[in-house]
């Protein structure tokens, strides 16, 4: 089994930047990612797309080539198509690649596993034809596949970005159905100072809105009571807007109300997490370098708290500097000297977040779905059932497993965990921190017997 100074999981901006920085400081580095090519979610397939598609995705997308080129020129070993499903203390990482298992040991681990779309349980969200907006973007970036008759539903700048990209590709969305309200916008004004420090982002947002207006894409803000109707697939998006019920016939519904850290790997390693009120999600508890309370485990990028692609790359580099210093490849003085400009750049990147988080809060209806709404997609458990569990004495997400099957399907709670915490907290009157989150145990992704059999020392795989 080969051994590395550092193994990084995730080849998005955070993982790519960290790997390059650490390798250039003299560490032996392996970068593992389940995708066939480097880039992560934002820069998905950036080295692979035809020019025409790159042009309509825009310069913020092609900017990712700076990171992929630096990665290729560095001595980093990048293992593509590697699904990491176990990280044991010490550290031994197990992953599957092409149907075979493989293992690797490392002194230190950096988790750069990025974000997931915030779960958006609305009536009908499990119907074929309903996808996350990020999925719509992945279809476009990776495959050049675009929805013909789509409605975008939710809140946040990513919704405008995908709408503009669809417009430029010649298939504008039928409408944007947005859940933020005028009151949210007014509340955000008290963070205007930060927004102005992050002016390029604000300017980009305003340009996107102007482009959508010119393109004739209707926007319905403050939408409520959203429902997707259809028998075997999405057919109609139904919502109320300014007291009127509206029905939009469509084939595809793209949902988005923000992204949240993908904490699966960090939780499986026992890293402490806490609730972020501003971001309305759990984040790992880290020091200013991304160092967790588990010795040798670092977290960077959106998996450490949502900050966007540029902040992700900067936090990856900061973590790499701290790791190089811990491994005696850099003096503390040198680490701090190199970190200074990165820190101020990161503060600039993060400046607009409070404004954005307040102007585009998560959709209230999806945070506290009505009883009949499915919250666990895998096991088809409704919000009402989770509330029943709470009434029967269930206090936290791990106990729900004694009451029913919520969170026990293959996605391991990725798309119901935050909802279940919110429903239980609401019912018991406890805080999200007191309520807690699912205990995550390996395997992080299902493993086949064949993959296990090809390992020399099969790792312990706890039961759910």
């Amino acid at each position: 089994m080969s051994h590395r100074d550092l193994v990084i999981v995730g080849a998005g901006p955070a993982g790519m930047a960290a790997a390059t920085e650490a390798a250039n400081a003299g560490l032996s580095v392996t970068l593992l990612d389940e995708q066939p090519r480097a880039g992560g979610q934002i820069y998905r397939d950036v080295d692979h797309v035809p020019d025409h598609r790159a042009a309509l995705l825009g310069p913020d997308y092609t900017a990712g080539r700076g990171l992929t080129v630096a990665l290729r020129r560095s001595p980093v070993e990048h293992v593509t198509g590697a699904v990491v499903w176990s990280i044991e203390p010490g550290f031994c990482l197990s992953y599957s690649r092409d149907g075979r298992g493989a293992q690797l040991t490392a002194d230190r681990v950096l988790l750069a596993t990025g974000a997931l779309e915030r779960p958006m349980p609305l009536p009908g969200w499990t119907l074929p034809g309903v996808m996350t907006a990020g999925a719509g973007q992945i279809l476009l970036k990776q495959s050049g596949v675009l929805a013909r008759s789509a409605v975008l539903v939710g809140a946040g700048p990513l919704l405008y970005l995908i709408a503009v990209q669809m417009l430029r590709a010649g298939q504008p969305p039928l409408a944007l159905v947005e859940t933020q309200t005028g009151r949210n916008r007014r509340a955000a004004l008290r963070h205007l100072g930060g927004a102005l420090r992050g002016w390029p982002y604000m300017a980009k947002g305003l340009r996107m809105l102007a482009e959508l207006k010119r393109g004739g894409v209707p926007r319905y803000t403050g939408a409520q009571d959203i429902r997707i109707e259809g028998d075997t697939r999405a057919e109609v998006l139904c919502f109320s807007h300014r007291g009127r019920t509206r029905r939009l016939a469509c084939e595809t519904v793209f949902l988005h109300h923000g992204v949240v850290p993908n904490t699966q790997a960090a939780r499986a390693l026992g890293v402490a997490h806490h609730w972020s009120t501003q971001q309305q999600c759990f984040v790992p508890t880290l020091d200013c370098w991304g160092r967790s309370d588990v010795p040798g485990v670092f977290v960077a990028g959106d998996g450490a708290g949502i900050g966007g692609a540029k902040a992700a790359a900067l936090s990856g580099r900061l973590a790499a500097l701290a790791i190089a210093c811990d491994a005696a490849r850099l003096t503390p003085d040198e680490r701090d000297r190199r970190a200074r400009p990165l820190r101020s750049a990161r503060a600039r990147e993060q400046a607009p977040r409070p404004f954005l988080d307040t102007a585009y809060p998560p959709c209230a209806q999806a945070l506290s779905p009505r009883d009949e709404t499915l919250v666990c997609r895998c096991e088809e458990v409704t919000a009402g059932t989770v509330r029943d569990h709470a009434r029967a004495g269930c206090l936290g997400p791990n106990q729900t497993k004694a009451f029913g099957r919520v969170g026990m399907g293959p996605c391991q709670g990725r798309y119901c965990g935050l909802t279940v915490t919110a429903l239980l907290a609401e019912a018991t009157g406890q805080t999200p921190d007191q309520t807690g989150y699912y205990r995550i145990r390996p395997p992080l992704k299902p493993v086949t017997l064949g993959e296990l059999a090809s390992l020399k020392t099969p790792p312990a795989t706890g039961k759910n």
Binding site: L116, T126, A135, V145, L146, R148, G409, Y415
Partner: protein
């Protein structure tokens, strides 16, 4: 025939098309393309039926997290959004009883 499909390909793919079978029906998909995307572009709307209620499902996240794109290939359930199109793939829809008959 060929009604307007929900998804379209914005540029002609330069990859050669290879034959795969979905529930026994032949499809010509671009070699090396993302399988879930290629199936959607080919007009496949229902990828699987859930084991719990038999409800139809199709890709939701396209990033390997939701498992709604599960299809059966060579007797194994795999995430279509995490694999690439290869010549001769025999794909079946998990959970639909009529398919199990055809496959056996």
């Amino acid at each position: 025939m060929n009604p307007v499909l929900p998804f379209l390909e914005i540029e002609a793919s330069s990859a050669p098309r290879v034959e795969v079978r979905f529930d026994g029906a032949p499809l010509l998909l671009p070699l090396g393309a993302n399988l879930a995307a290629a199936l959607l572009a080919a007009g496949i709307e229902r990828f699987r039926d859930t084991p719990v209620s038999g409800a139809p499902r199709a890709p939701f996240c396209m990033m390997g997290a939701c498992f709604d794109c599960l299809v059966e290939i060579d007797g194994m359930q795999r995430q279509a959004c995490m694999i690439e199109v290869a010549e001769g793939l025999q794909i079946t829809r998990p959970g639909s009883p009529e398919v199990r008959h055809v496959a056996s």
